[in-house]
Homo-oligomer: 388 residues x 2
């Protein structure tokens, strides 16, 4: 292999692929990025066997070839090239030991491993089903991802559920203590009509590993104005973002029927300034005792008042009074401070709606339309009160 | 105790004192800040028994008193008070359990410990000897502090040596592998003439714990336009920065006679762009083998060229060519990449002078006057080459 490409393209390609590279050392080939020339194009591939990334960049190819190179060392080389008055191109040439790299006044020989040892990354065999603006998809991921379980005792909870319906996509995650669900509306512009309709007839829910979506949202951040195409096959999901392919396994298993636990009606509805609620709950969490770090939220719709209280025999006690708009019954509910705070943090609007039925039933947080003041239904965070 | 003060003053006082508060739990009182009223002023004290901080703020004192309060909880309370449309004052009142705090809509009771249990912080009994601009002192500290030893087998090396002479202050630190020395020139404006002269006759070098100077530089950062007054007593040093007192023990013992190992003349003098040298050394460090991470610096004054090389049988090899201005003999010196890089990082000018005698003698890095191109003598970083 002998090629020339621009430093900027090369650097971006390494940046987009290196993060899935495994940090384990039992299989050294997984620490590598595979370089392959392919019809006037240089393709970089990286995988940790659960998720794979492929990046293609334009290059002047003087001699075709393939090789796998340690990602970390290559990235350190590229990221420390001098930036002042620098050579714009990077020259790569394989020899029997590895790859020779040259750019401006810097040269290196990096030892590699044969391309043949590199694991195969599954190829997409179907057409794309869905097309979404990158930012919209990224925001949906970030709003639900923290609710996915870290613990692997229930594999399906370590993923994000994606429910596909004719007009909507529902992203949901839960660790069984709290749940977040984000709805994206789709139109004919977002889908490959025929394929999509026949797909959702056969299968309407898939479970995507949380780690895959985290990687996807990072790559979207690095490609600001992007459109993400999604293809779904039997046990794989494929994303394409501005020419970058992400391939991931899907999680087998049945996702819990979470829709049943989201209440449709509530006895109390309160609307609070997000920032003020955030500060008060955070402050209370420092005073709350025990592992569950309990706090009490009291809402009095008649007095238009709310109190957040926490106390511990050891540390002391804390009360914050919050002005709010509320309708319905008075409430007195105990929460795990951490779970409540996580929910407030995911709210993207400046006001948050707290929707309560009783101290024993799921409580919902929702967003508020900044103009009309209406409660929005596109996102919901559900948290179970603590029975005190 | 019953007092009112402004939230801003109170918050700053907590910020400046809480960092020396101990994180250990064997002596709970050390996790606390001592609050004392003193002639219309509220004084906060914190100590970890090695270093103490005292901050004074104006307050309306309705009832005098003393109490000690857990620093972390207090800081969490103050830092999470609502900022929007907030009450400007904070109300504090002790009761039998601890202290009641109120600001705007937030209230807390924080349990405390009797003030009498709080350790005594030594009182300054002498006048200030030296007065320095805060930024100048902070920069001197930051340039030498990384060379102080972390390992406590030789206690005196965990400190920074301060040599006081009639016209200069020399800050120096070494872990016996490398050494940094910064010179500050002083005039009669900087010193309490009579006391200073009699002090340096008795004692010319003291050793200040590195942790004390790190804390001092942090407090200086938080008080941008500050003057720092310094008093030195038998086994204590006192700093005053805009009303904040720092009290620290000094390290007993004799600091190594380091001045002897700083060469006065050099056979080779090279001047390089700091940023380019930094990138090349950093890049080489990733290719260098073994724990010492060796790299070779070759300087050819005749060709006006320099090369930085590193190689490892496992990873590969790396070479960077650097343009430079050099006079004297050609050199070929092996360095520990980390130690060389640390030195380059502490250089505050855009160009760096590399001064070499032989591959077996101490090498110096110095700063370059941006206008005249002269080598400056106010800072020197000494690193021993590796004998290869």
């Amino acid at each position: 292999m002998k090629i020339i490409c621009t430093r900027e393209n090369f650097k971006n390609a390494i940046f987009n692929s290196e993060r899935v590279v495994s940090k384990q050392t039992t299989l050294p080939i997984l620490n590598n990025i595979l370089f392959e020339t392919e019809r006037g194009i240089l393709k970089l591939s990286a995988t940790n066997l659960e998720i794979g990334v492929e990046v293609k960049i334009g290059a002047k190819i003087e001699k075709e070839g393939r090789i796998s190179i340690p990602a970390r060392l290559l990235s350190n080389f590229v990221n420390n090239l001098p930036t002042k008055g620098a050579e714009e191109n990077i020259f790569l040439e394989t020899n029997e030991q590895g790859i020779k790299i040259k750019s401006g006044t810097a040269r290196a020989l990096i030892k590699g491993l044969p391309a043949g040892e590199f694991p195969l990354i599954p190829k997409k065999t179907s057409a794309f089903l869905i097309k979404l603006p990158g930012q919209q998809l990224k925001n949906a991921i970030l709003q639900v991802i923290n609710c996915a379980a870290l613990n692997e005792t229930r594999q399906e909870l370590t993923g994000v559920s994606l429910l596909l319906t004719e007009k909507e996509l529902f992203f949901a995650a839960t660790d069984s203590f709290r749940l977040a669900e984000k709805k994206l509306e789709i139109t004919s512009k977002n889908i490959n009509q025929e394929n999509y309709m026949s797909f959702i007839k056969k299968k309407s829910t898939i479970i995507i590993p949380a780690s895959t979506l985290i990687e996807l949202s990072r790559i979207i951040s690095n490609n600001e104005e992007s459109t993400v195409e999604v293809a779904i096959e039997e046990s794989q999901i494929f994303f394409n973002i501005n020419g970058i392919n992400i391939i991931s396994r899907l999680i087998n298993g049945k996702y819990p029927e979470y829709k049943n636990i989201i209440p449709i009606e509530f006895k109390t509805r309160a609307v609070v300034e997000k920032e003020i609620l955030q500060g008060a709950v955070k402050m209370a969490s420092f005073f709350s005792a025990g592992k569950a770090s309990e706090l009490t939220l009291k809402i009095d719709p008649q007095k238009k008042e709310s109190r957040i209280e926490a106390r511990s025999t050891e540390l002391g006690e804390n009360t914050s009074e919050l002005k709010l708009e509320a309708t319905g019954q008075a409430q007195d509910v105990v929460f795990n401070a951490r779970y409540l705070l996580d929910g407030i943090n995911t709210i993207a609007t400046s006001q948050v709606a707290i929707l309560i039925n009783s101290p024993f039933a799921p409580v919902a947080l929702k967003e508020i339309n900044e103009q009309t003041g209406e409660v929005l239904d596109s996102f919901v965070y559900i948290v179970m009160p603590i029975k005190s």
